[in-house]
């Protein structure tokens, strides 16, 4: 059971999209959309609070797994995340990713909030901080133009080393 009171927001990304809340919701929760803007990953989610949630590689292997904490279409979608598909990463504590969708004039305001239950080193936070702008810029392009970009990205400098260090020292247990 995830005690959400222990989690603090660490990374927030906001984008405005010329679309409707329903379409943004669809883009966030349907595989046909996610594989266009989320580095090729397909989302696989059981549409209810407590449901299972995955991002899968094209061959079906699991990249991210978690549980749905909140499923309120078309306004709020919250999940726990464990990145299983990358070496060592699966041993880090889960984080929480929340998407909030609001009408803003004729556009939609999408807010992504990544929250953690421990003092995550900056080098590890840098991973999400470089990934989210690419993912969410691309989601906006997919909804507005139907044509995704192809953004290639390597982990930021010091990222894998910081993950290895955290997994061996387990600072969240202190």
């Amino acid at each position: 059971m995830t005690d959400i009171s222990q989690f603090r927001p660490k990374t927030v990304y906001v984008t405005y999209i010329a679309s409707t809340p329903e379409k943004v919701w669809q883009a966030l929760t349907e595989a046909e959309f996610s594989r266009q803007y989320f580095f090729g990953f397909t989302i696989d989610v059981e549409p209810k609070a407590g449901g299972q949630f995955y991002y899968r590689y094209p061959d079906g292997r699991v990249h991210v797994s978690g549980k749905v904490l909140e499923w309120s279409p078309p306004h709020r979608f919250v999940c726990t995340w464990i990145v299983e598909g990358m070496e060592d990463f699966g041993e880090l504590p889960e984080c929480i990713v929340a998407y909030d969708i609001e009408q803003a004039g004729d556009a939609v305001k999408l807010t992504m909030t990544e929250s953690h239950s421990w003092e995550v080193p900056e080098e590890i936070m840098a991973g999400g901080r470089s990934g989210w702008p690419a993912i969410l810029s691309n989601l906006k392009s997919v909804l507005e133009t139907g044509r995704p970009m192809t953004i290639r990205m390597a982990p930021p400098e010091g990222f894998m080393e910081a993950v290895k260090r955290a997994v061996s020292e387990k600072p969240w247990q202190r």
């Binding site: 556009a107 810029s137 392009s141 192809t150």
Partner: protein, 165 residues
């Protein structure tokens, strides 16, 4: 741990070229299209004045710190609003990087706005403003249409009334 000074960083990827993005950030009539009716004004020489205006009213003033088309642009930022005018100028930096991977080209645009005092009201205001302005810029360059203003004409008149007091 020492308290960190407020710093706003926003990255967006745009299917376009660095020349087009740079032009949009520095051309008065193009900026008016995506900046919700505001426009930039400057000769873009380092040391020259910079202004963000609505019509003839200056909303934010500053000085050009750096202009290296089409990759880097920086100016100071001083709101003329009554509630924020007492704060000293902060600093904006735009960095543009051309990437491959889209038929129209792809640009990574990084906006860094820093050099604020602690508890700056301007910091709070720009943290809400840049995502809106930069989302609108991306829409304009990718689709030909910027986003619609999310504030009413009445809100803008109020801001202008404060500015011109």
């Amino acid at each position: 741990m020492t308290a960190r000074k407020p710093k706003f960083v926003y990255v967006t990827y745009i299917a376009s070229t660095v020349d087009k993005v740079f032009e949009a950030l520095t051309d008065a009539s193009i900026s008016r299209q995506f900046w919700f009716g505001f426009h930039v004004e400057s000769d873009w020489k380092p040391g020259s004045p910079f202004a963000l205006k609505r019509g003839d009213t200056t909303m934010d003033s500053g000085v050009v710190l750096l202009c290296e088309p089409p990759h880097r642009l920086s100016y100071t930022w001083h709101p003329e609003y009554e509630s924020m005018r007492h704060e000293r100028p902060s600093r904006v930096l735009f960095e543009l990087e051309q990437l491959k991977g889209h038929v129209k080209g792809q640009v990574k645009l990084t906006v860094t706005h820093d050099d604020f005092d602690d508890d700056s009201k301007v910091f709070e205001s720009i943290s809400g403003g840049w995502p809106l302005v930069l989302s609108s810029l991306k829409s304009m360059l990718e689709t030909g249409s910027a986003l619609e203003p999310t504030f009413s004409e009445e809100d803008i008149r109020k801001i202008e009334a404060i500015c011109t007091q």
